[in-house]
Amino acid sequence: MTARPATRRSAPARADGPAAVAALQAALAAENSAVYGYGVAGAHLAGGKRAAAVRNWVAHQNARDALTAMLAARGAQPAAAAAAYELPFSVHGSAAAVALATTLEDRVSAAYLGLVGLSDPGLRAFGARAVRTAALRAAAWRGSTLAFPGLDVPVPRQARAPTAGRGTTAQASPPGSPTPSPPG
């Protein structure tokens, strides 16, 4: 118990150093695509739903910044956001926009669950809080709950597309800001 506190102290954090960086990068990638995706979704929403999309868009930007700082603190180069992301389905109306927001949150919750699988207790707790936050947002969009958020993630499905869409990627226009974050 009292034998080697010094070596024990740093062991858990060091043990999953590369794994922690990989999990943080995966969470960052999910946040970056959420920031982009909410820009698309927000453009197709109005009223309270648009307000919720803007709130979540800002929250994901803050989360992205926090993860970027955590990676930098570990001496890792945070992966840059892409200029555009392929959407899971075409978004031409509010139903598809809500389905997209739901899918984004499902993916974010799955990414943060990766942090919960690390041995560092601080990152585990951080990940668990983030999984909960994303699951709450997903449930708010979906109007119902999942048994295993982040773990059993439903296949992205557009809520009943009226006609097969022409384009697969909608133009990004984040609410309140003209362009998604450029790479680099």
Binding site: S109, P121, A128, R132, A135, L136, A139, A140
Partner: protein, 174 residues
């Protein structure tokens, strides 16, 4: 107090009978070093107790207010899913009495223990919302000590319960 003691005894009996059942196949020599339960076993048992209690709360509310079934059944179904996923993590030797860990923890405590269900639908929904929030926190109590995949399962179940609490808070009761 007394309830805790009962549960502890049940757990203790499980801890004793499990190695004995395993050792039975190898003869007396095997008794020298009783196998230690895997580190996650106690944590899974705790999580199972939390789920079982929650299911008992739902059962009490549904019995008192069948009109809430439409709202509550989908949430209750998730808790049965949680319970099944947790139980699947416990490998119990055949013939051992340990598989009833959860139900024996449930029957003496949960069936009698839940506070009386409030008399109105609104209050009953609030009662379940509080129970869900408490469970969501309880499932994270041993997060740091759990093996990685169990930690992920517990975090997911906890998040599910937090969403249940949110939905219960939004229900418009007529």
């Amino acid at each position: 107090m007394a309830r805790d003691a009962t549960r502890r005894r049940v757990l203790a009996i499980g801890a004793v009978t499990l190695p004995l059942a395993v050792a039975g196949c190898k003869g007396l020599g095997a008794l020298g070093t009783p196998p230690k339960p895997a580190p996650g076993v106690a944590i899974v048992s705790h999580a199972i107790t939390v789920e079982t209690r929650l299911i008992a709360h739902y059962g009490a509310v549904l019995a008192a207010m069948p009109a809430l079934a439409g709202t509550l059944r989908p949430l209750l179904a998730h808790h049965h899913d949680h319970l099944a996923r947790l139980r699947a993590r416990l490998i119990i030797p055949p013939g051992s009495r340990a598989p009833d860990l959860a139900s024996s923890a449930a029957s003496p405590s949960s069936s009698r223990s839940p506070r009386a269900v409030p008399g109105t639908p609104a209050a009953a929904l609030g009662y379940l919302r509080d129970a869900e929030n408490a469970a969501a926190d309880a499932q994270l109590a041993h997060l740091a000590a759990a093996p990685p995949s169990l930690a992920q399962l517990l975090a997911s179940i906890s998040a599910s319960e937090a969403t249940h609490a949110m939905i219960l808070g939004q229900v418009r009761h007529r």
